[in-house]
Symmetry: none
């Protein structure tokens, strides 16, 4: 079954709540299993660059079928996928994008951006947890 | 004062409610006074092309400081802005994008897409009305 | 269930066979329900411009959830979607792209290009028929 | 003589067969001597990012007239072609793209992506071998 707007909105709400808890305003994007945007929210005071970055993190998670954090090592100078970030319309190779899975299948992804990468990952994980627990 | 996420979300909620009322699932985007996305929702069953179109309608309303419906006549073959749609990273020249104003100043814009242009405008107007009445 | 490579290949084979029958070499592209390419074939002697055009016709059919032929009238000068072709990364607004449906749901699309639009549509219809009959 | 669709399809079939043998679903693209796509297949379960990557690997092999693996060292920080990947519309500088030659002349190229770089190269080599042996 496809990811619904109601589900995407719950994922974003959970991300926003976690971002408020850690005191860091974030951009949170949710895409479907084709990488197309379903819902998005930019919290007051968060940076504008993260509009694109959060959406691309979510899209990268779909296109690579991986959390974006898993791409960081493999794309360093000398590593085997060095240069990957320029391909497929632009991929993000640091943490903050995580696939949303249902019954073992990827049905969408969330992307979070505007804080440190650790903060982005923390917020993305809270958003994913809300999805996994409720559906 | 800047458009807040809470305000953008109210604008989207009003658009979604009107879209449900007329029975046409829509994409609704809200941008700030720089044309940068603040919030977005794609209703279940609405077309994916309208992700970009709704966001670009909102952005066009900011860049031109006009409802996008006002650009239709001026961009026809032979009219004075013929070709405008190719510029500024892509502008939409049919209805569905409307500025959000406060005290006579443009603070953001809403873009709606996925139905007929008339339906898009109807939903965008409902979204704008919710903004003007509540803030 | 997702469109498989075997299904996409059958769609392409049926398109190629029809293209041979009418004596017009074609480009045939099949995309999944997210608009992402699954299989592609360019027949010997067909024009190179149609690589992009066939893929974009298939992608447009997904993004608009319509045969691309249905967009021709609505995007003429003076019609309500005039200028649509510049949006969503480039949409094709003439015939040759058709959605592939299963149990009433769009699971992919085929795009055909290199002949006259009538020829493209004829080949695309033959490709779609092979999909609908076998699955 | 130009690369034919039948030849391109044989190259892809050999790649797909090798990919099945090693148990890693792949994207396989074949381009002509101008770098333009002739045939493409995305195996079930392989990642979507590799649609673009496999096609760009094949295209890079034509534009540089080299296997893409030969570009990895020269494009590292401090090496003489550092930054090459941004040019000519996007080049891939890791392995998986190999020219197809006939009588010492490059007539096309194959690009393989979705596994580790070693797996991609293994599958590309099997695809090339099928071309060299049969034509």
């Amino acid at each position: 079954m496809r990811l619904t707007l109601a589900e995407a909105q719950r994922v974003i709400d959970a991300g926003v709540k976690e971002a408020e808890r850690i005191g860091r305003p974030m951009n949170v994007a949710v895409v479907d299993d084709g990488g197309h945007l379903v819902a998005f929210a930019r919290m007051d005071g968060s940076i504008k660059a993260s509009i694109d970055i959060s959406a691309k993190k979510a899209r990268t998670s779909i296109l690579m079928n991986l959390p974006t954090a898993d791409l960081a090592d493999a794309t360093q100078p000398g590593a085997e996928l060095y240069g990957l970030e320029h391909l497929s319309g632009g991929l993000v190779t640091f943490g903050g994008g995580i696939p949303l899975t249902r019954d073992g299948e990827t049905v969408g992804a969330v992307g979070v951006s505007a804080g440190s990468v650790d903060e982005d990952v923390t917020v993305a994980q809270a958003a994913v947890a809300a999805f996994q627990n409720r559906t």
